[in-house]
């Protein structure tokens, strides 16, 4: 296991320091890319802290999860009971239940 610290609450609340190196810059970059923010300046901050390779990897990971989120949302992958039990504290801490739509039936998104 790695022992790099990571404050997971920062995932749901970017005002919290994620503690991992470059974490604040990475969160700002994700938000800018996905929410119409200042991509150029946040990318420059990531590059300054983590280098060009770090910036490219961050862009690639965002792209990959743009794909995976759509695959999961479109196909209705169920969240397994075992996964829910194992990650119950994390799910509760981050308030992730609000994103689980797999059992909802409504037809008018």
């Amino acid at each position: 296991m790695t022992h790099t610290p990571l404050e997971v609450r920062a995932v749901a609340d970017p005002t919290i320091d994620p503690l991992t190196p470059g974490g604040v810059a990475l969160l700002a970059f994700v938000d800018a890319v996905l929410s119409g923010g200042d991509v150029a300046s946040t990318a420059a901050a990531v590059r300054a802290e983590l280098g060009a390779a770090g910036l490219v990897d961050a862009a690639a990971v965002i792209g990959n999860f743009q794909m995976m989120n759509r695959v999961a949302d479109g196909t209705g992958i169920p969240v397994g009971r075992g996964s829910r039990i194992r990650n119950a504290a994390l799910i509760d801490q981050l308030g992730l239940d609000r994103f689980d739509h797999t059992d909802e039936e409504n037809t008018h998104p």
Partner: protein, 205 residues
């Protein structure tokens, strides 16, 4: 400034191969139809009106998955199927839209303009689908236990493309079990980016 960034060769190869794949006939859509789906996805993300050259259910599916994926619901999909979009075409459409959005996002993040859509490769769809796939706990039929690695398994070529694309962009499915894996980012940094992306997209995963 980000235009000067050097991109890993394996990542460039992955993007070029995936881009070319969008233009080829799939299992249930022709190359031209797949590119029309991709164009519809782009129109939705730019809040432009539909091009209206696809069946209405396919336009609805492409637009919602491209621009508002968290709004997808089981009943919505069942309405699409009742409207004539069968599960096989829907699953292939999910693959096309999701990879198109991924590649457009990557370029946007690096300050690069969108890649023009390629010319379609002529030919008929292969018709190759997994007849053993069953609809169980997920919304669409899958081969084996429902899970994200099997999500597109009803159309094997799409599941293969997903897995190929996933490795250079993030991690291969095998590398995902290695918490010490690092490239330009450490694994915790990668997970931070991945998780924040999912939160912004309001996706449980």
């Amino acid at each position: 400034m980000t235009g000067q960034v050097s991109i890993r060769p394996d990542l460039i190869d992955n993007l070029e191969r995936t881009w070319a794949n969008l233009a080829r006939p799939g299992a249930r859509w022709t190359g031209a139809e797949r590119l029309t789906i991709a164009d519809e996805a782009r129109r939705a993300r730019k809040q432009r009106p539909p091009g209206a050259t696809l069946p209405a259910a396919a336009i609805d599916a492409a637009r919602l998955l491209a621009a508002r994926p968290a709004a997808a619901r089981r009943g919505w999909l069942e309405d699409l199927v009742a409207g004539g979009l069968d599960y096989e075409r829907f699953v292939e459409l999910v693959g096309v839209v999701s990879r198109l959005v991924a590649m457009d996002t990557f370029r946007h993040a690096l300050g690069l303009p969108p890649e023009p859509l390629p010319e379609p490769v002529p030919g008929e769809p292969s018709g190759k689908v997994a007849s053993q796939a069953r609809r169980d706990r997920a919304w669409v039929p899958m081969v084996g236990a429902a899970g994200v690695t099997q999500a597109l398994s009803l159309v094997p070529s799409e599941n293969t493309e997903l897995e190929r694309f996933h490795g250079p962009m993030y991690l291969t499915f095998d590398q995902m079990s290695d918490p010490a894996f690092a490239r330009g980012l450490t694994r915790p940094q990668m997970e931070l980016v991945a998780a924040r992306t999912s939160v912004v997209n309001e996706c449980f995963y």
